[in-house]
Amino acid sequence: MGTMEMVAAADGREQDDILLHIENLKVGFQTTSGFVRAVDGVDLKVRRGRTLAVVGESGCGKSITARSVLGLLPEQNTVMSGSIAFKSRTGEVLDIASLPRRGKRMRSIRGAEIAMIFQEPMTSLTPVFTVGDQILEALRLHTPVRGAQALARAIELLEMVGIPEPESRLKAYPHQMSGGMRQRVMIAMALASNPSLLLADEPTTALDVTVQAQILDLMRGLQDELGMSVVFITHDLGVVAEMAHEVAVIYLGQVVEYASVDDLFERPTHPYTRGLLNSLPRIGATERLVPIAGSVPDPREHRVGCRFADRCASRMAKCDTPPPLIKLPHGQDVRCWLHENEGGTQS
């Protein structure tokens, strides 16, 4: 087998391995105060059984990206383009972005093949139905189990997410549970139909630190057990280090760096990523924290060139032209002119 063939075979395996491939996703909102480019050409790949962390500040477009995968964006005044290729259980590759949002095909993916949990466990469950009702509803929607079998499965799901006394908890209303317990219920509900992809939109942000650690442990354990892929959206680099296999750093609606979790923490390459890491406190360190200069610009402004240029210490003349995502030889992607000559391919 020649070198070329080996590369091709590896490429093929990688293709087989990719569950979700977002390409050039753009989402904009028409608001009364102007057009907001929330997501501006995001590319992401999620591989089977792996966790991709999507990191960024509030308003960078990370949640919008996740929501567009399930077609959950508001229908009015939203403009969306790009493709979201998802490998369905049936084996076919669907472009979710082009599916009618209220259509049957979209609904057969929502909750069944791709499930989602959210940031606010306190308001994520409908207050007037019991936890059991809401889990059973998910089971009825996506699985053939009914009656006593469904009840047993619901209890099993609650056990799986570590809820004590699951039988009696089925009859509880959401307001009778703590935030951590509600998030566990959300996870149980998400897992009802064995999804191949779980979108987790800052699932631990609203929780106490100890509860946060428990939920993260739970999610990691469940992922190992069920072999699903996870897209973990967060602004917390500590959580990234604990959860992710791969990391995409997003700034103002664009991926600025994509790397394996080890590479990202060992060799942060984009000035923004480095800035983020420098602004993190470390145990034992005595030097002052270095914040990133300036603040996130208004997403309504239309910018030419590098989005981060205004806040970047290494700014140069070339930054007025938009930098491409440069593939570095060891497998890291970075959107920065500084690395123009190190890179292999550009895209």
Partner: protein
């Protein structure tokens, strides 16, 4: 739940007592009273027999006694079911009210039914089509309904009903059924008359309810759990009707509690214009001529309805929303 209901009913007693004092004082407040005027009138005509009847009134209600004693005589009889006598109609207040109460209740309940049946679907439609043509159209009609005075609407509908359908619409019955025994034909005749006051009285309430329903539902549709329901893969109809509506409709249950007495009190103008045999015109007349026992009894009944309505609404709310505990 039962102890809550019991406590609430017990709590009504002191409240009703306070209301009775205030109503009694208010009714007696204007200078002069019905009887003085009546005596002057009768004496001018030289009617001596009337003096005897008026003397009976004075004795029965202690009208020469201080006001607190008069109050005591009134209220102690009131609780035994003797509501006093109407000077104007020269009949017992109890029989007068019972004659009309049935129609008032019928009118109120029909109006509420109409308001809910129209307002809820319209509100849901408006909320799920926010800022689109249907929503704007419904909002326009709703504001028109809120702004249009009832008497104008009543006259308009009467005109239409007579000219277009050729139905007589004054009152609740056609003349030929007025004193007839109940029969299917009389019922149909009642329905033919009832729709006009129901629409007239109900329009403003319907418009208000619709705006409320729309606002609540829009609020709930923005909640996280609605997104959860959608992310689960539920069809949009189920998301709206099962998850969102069940929460959004709760405030309307509270409104229903105050609506019933509000309609009885609010039908006055319409009932005068349409000549309806309900409580409203009776109440208005009683207040105008200071027919004090009639006015007082109606006030007391309306207060009681308001309290019962609120109690029922609280119970309904507790049944509908597990987060609300009655204690």
């Amino acid at each position: 739940m039962l102890s809550f209901i019991f406590r609430r009913v017990v709590q009504m007693a002191p409240l009703l007592f306070l209301i009775s004092v205030v109503s009694f004082v208010l009714i007696n407040l204007p200078p002069g009273d019905y009887l003085t005027i009546k005596i002057a009138e009768l004496e001018a005509r030289g009617d001596s027999g009337a003096q005897f009847i008026l003397g009976q009134y004075r004795e029965r209600f202690g009208l020469d006694l201080p006001i607190w004693q008069q109050y005591w005589i009134w209220i102690s009889h009131f609780v035994t079911g003797d509501f006093g006598r109407s000077f104007e109609y020269e009949r017992e207040v109890g029989t007068l009210i019972w004659e009309r109460m049935g129609f008032s209740v019928l009118l109120s309940l029909s109006t509420m039914l109409f308001a809910w049946l129209v307002a809820i679907p319209a509100g849901i439609f408006a909320a799920t089509h926010q800022y689109r043509l249907g929503d704007n159209l419904l909002s326009f009609v709703a504001f028109l309904g809120l702004a249009l005075p009832n008497f104008l609407l009543a006259l308009l509908l009467m005109y239409l009903s007579v000219v277009v359908f050729g139905w007589s619409v004054g009152g609740l019955f056609s003349p030929e059924y007025l004193d007839a025994a109940w029969s299917p034909a009389k019922f149909v005749d009642l329905l033919k008359h009832l729709w006009v006051p129901v629409v007239v009285i109900g329009t403003a309430g319907t418009a208000g309810l619709m705006r409320l329903m729309r606002g609540n539902l829009l609020d709930v549709l923005r909640q996280q759990y609605v997104t959860t329901a959608r992310a689960k893969g539920l069809p949009e109809g189920k998301v709206v009707y099962k998850h969102a509506l069940r929460v959004a409709i709760n405030p309307l249950i509270s409104v229903a509690g105050t609506m019933f007495p509000a309609i009885i009190a609010g039908e006055v103008i319409t009932s005068v214009v349409l000549n309806l045999p309900t409580i409203g015109p009776l109440f208005l007349r009683a207040l105008q001529v200071q027919d004090m026992y009639l006015a007082g009894a109606i006030l007391m009944f309306m207060s009681l309805f308001l309290m019962l309505g609120n109690l029922l609404a609280d119970i309904g709310l507790a049944l509908a929303d597990p987060r609300i505990k009655l204690s």
